[in-house]
């Protein structure tokens, strides 16, 4: 059950150019967060209403003492405000929100595909489901300077392959190249992805062709985060035809075919 709470910032550390990991103190509200669920973080100073809206983030990882973290890229006023937080400062959180990834019990070999700031929910998935399935991560970034996360996957004993658009780290090209390669070479029975919309669409197409069940975590401009404002809708195929569903409520995770159909 979601709640609003305040906890303390423990640390901030750069993880890539313009990307930071914000580590915050344990709070019981987040003990049962499922991978793919998100939290909505207030970025304005206490008593200020500017920037007005909360910002949605996936958890990145959980530490042995219960502390948890998010990764953000500084792109605007909200993330600039987050970057100014120092250890000991309060952080105001609403969560956990949304419906996360579904663990299919019979699935034994899972491929995790992340693009850019879409990587964090997949690391959290890997950490949460560690030992329950064999996993491999495929991570895509624009360039080496923006890449992060592969050492954290490695620390979990999960191999991560990296692709960069310019070839400055790992495979030169898209993360979907790595995905097609994996699906050609090995048997996988579950695919989990988060990243930019074109990447998700390509992953859905590839997964459909390979016949691998695929779940995608979506991002959309959000207001309330709890399902009241109807800002973050996505056209989803339902029994009653294509209907707008709320990324924050029915999502952010949807089955690939719900959004993109079968191929």
């Amino acid at each position: 059950m979601a709640e609003t709470f305040v906890t303390a910032v423990v640390a901030q550390r750069p993880v890539a150019a313009g990307h930071y990991e914000l580590i915050a103190a344990h709070h019981p509200a987040l003990d049962a967060v499922q991978p793919g669920q998100f939290i909505n973080v207030r970025v304005a100073r206490p008593g200020s209403w500017d920037p007005l809206l909360r910002r949605p983030f996936s958890l990145y990882r959980r530490f042995a003492n219960g502390d948890w973290s998010i990764v953000y890229r500084v792109v605007g006023r909200g993330t600039e405000a987050l970057a100014r937080l120092r250890p000991g400062d309060d952080i105001d959180v609403l969560g956990p929100l949304g419906r996360g990834f579904v663990k299919v019990p019979e699935a034994r070999r899972l491929l995790l595909v992340g693009g850019g700031v879409g990587v964090p929910p997949l690391l959290f998935l890997a950490q949460t489901w560690q030992g329950q399935a064999e996993m491999k991560a495929l991570l895509g970034f624009a360039e080496a300077g923006l890449a992060f996360g592969w050492t954290e996957f490695a620390a979990l004993g999960i191999e991560a392959e990296v692709a960069t658009d310019d070839g400055s780290l790992g495979h030169r090209g898209f993360v979907t190249d790595l995905l097609e390669n994996q699906l050609n070479r090995n048997e996988w029975d579950g695919l989990y992805a988060c990243g930019p919309r074109p990447m998700l669409e390509a992953v859905a197409r590839i997964a459909c062709r390979a016949g691998v069940p695929c779940q995608l975590a979506f991002e959309e401009a959000m207001g309330c985060g709890v399902g009241a404002c109807l800002s973050c809708v996505l056209p989803v195929r339902t029994e009653g035809g294509v209907q707008y569903q709320r990324v924050c409520r029915e999502g952010p995770v949807f089955w690939a075919e719900e959004v993109y159909g079968h191929g």
């Binding site: 609003t4 500017d50 007005l52 909360r54 959309e220 401009a221 709890v226 404002c229 809708v233 707008y244």
Partner: protein
């Protein structure tokens, strides 16, 4: 505890704090955070005679101390509301004010009639002010004669109190208020959002798919307070004030400007319990003044005529 109970348009409210239509869905999402029975009233999201799909995304963009939205009145239609949401809402001890929308005078009247026949609804709020749809909505909200026609039609279709919600996107808000009062409005809600837009300078395109959106949040509060003030001086019917109320002090401004009740809107998005915080803050404020809540309504006006608060004994006539 100070008593904030108040009567408005024939409804007894346990307190004057409502949640504004379009910011609270049909109550379910926020019922997970607090007991809706603590609210004076719930103004549910606009309901139309048939389901509306709403606008494409992006539907929202943040602006300085505010936000623009262009949802497009997505709603499941009046039948679904009556079947699914209303029975559930009736389980709470609060007033249920249903916001109604339409593309024509006939549609407004049709929705009003179907809601009235259902029972268990305390009042109808008429949305003649949504800036985000092509037809209806704002066109009824910017022409006093068109607004009056909608109010008259809805009044004929229902026995419930009728509360038009005024658009602030007009030159003379007092003229609009007088028009709907003369047409039979039992109370007036003000204000809806201000028409605005934001441009993505990198893409060189409007941010919102709908191009224009409605501005809400603290950014509009001084504009909304001013309009409540002007309308208070122009009409007799009670006012429900809204526009960027984030805390009890903000609500007090609206009350002092002339609002008999207030509605919390965008603040719900930031704190799910915002309406309760507003109520607690307003209670503290009233207590500190040593006056009754009724005495504070419109109390900032230098000169009050008998038409506004006829029962106030110490009115400086």
């Amino acid at each position: 505890m100070v008593d904030l109970s108040i009567e408005i348009a024939g409804m007894e409210l346990k307190n004057p704090v409502m949640v504004a239509s379009g910011t609270f869905g049909y109550g379910r999402e926020y019922a997970e955070f607090f007991d809706l029975s603590r609210l004076g009233a719930v103004m549910v999201k606009g309901v139309s005679s048939e389901p509306w799909t709403g606008n494409p995304v992006p539907r929202i963009v943040e602006t300085p101390s505010g936000m623009l939205n262009a949802i497009g009145l997505q709603n499941p239609g009046v039948d679904y509301f009556l079947e699914v949401d209303l029975p559930w809402l009736r389980g709470f001890d609060t007033r249920i004010i249903v916001n109604i929308i339409g593309r024509s005078v006939e549609e407004y009247a049709d929705v009003a009639a179907r809601l009235s026949a259902a029972g268990g609804i305390d009042a109808l709020e008429i949305n003649i002010s949504c800036p985000n749809i092509k037809e209806g909505g704002i066109q009824f909200g910017s022409d006093p004669r068109a607004a009056a026609r909608v109010v008259e039609a809805v009044k004929r279709a229902t026995h419930l109190p009728v509360i038009p919600k005024l658009s602030p996107n007009v030159t003379d808000i007092a003229q609009m208020a007088r028009a709907v009062e003369d047409a039979g409005a039992d109370a007036i809600s003000l204000v809806n959002t201000f028409l605005g837009m934001a441009i993505d300078i990198r893409r060189r395109k409007p941010v919102l798919a709908n191009v224009f959106g409605g501005l809400s949040g603290p950014a509009i509060r001084p504009l909304a307070v001013r309009m409540v003030w002007q309308v208070y001086e122009a009409v007799r019917v009670p006012l429900i004030g809204m526009g960027g109320i984030m805390d009890g002090a903000d609500a007090a401004e609206f009350v002092l400007a002339g609002a008999r009740a207030v509605a919390v809107g965008t603040a719900n998005f930031i704190r799910p319990t915002a309406a309760l915080d507003v109520l607690a803050g307003l209670e503290r404020y009233v207590e500190e003044t040593g006056l009754s809540y009724a005495e504070l309504i419109g109390a900032a006006h230098p000169r009050r005529t008998a038409r506004q608060e006829p029962t106030r004994p110490e009115a400086n006539q």
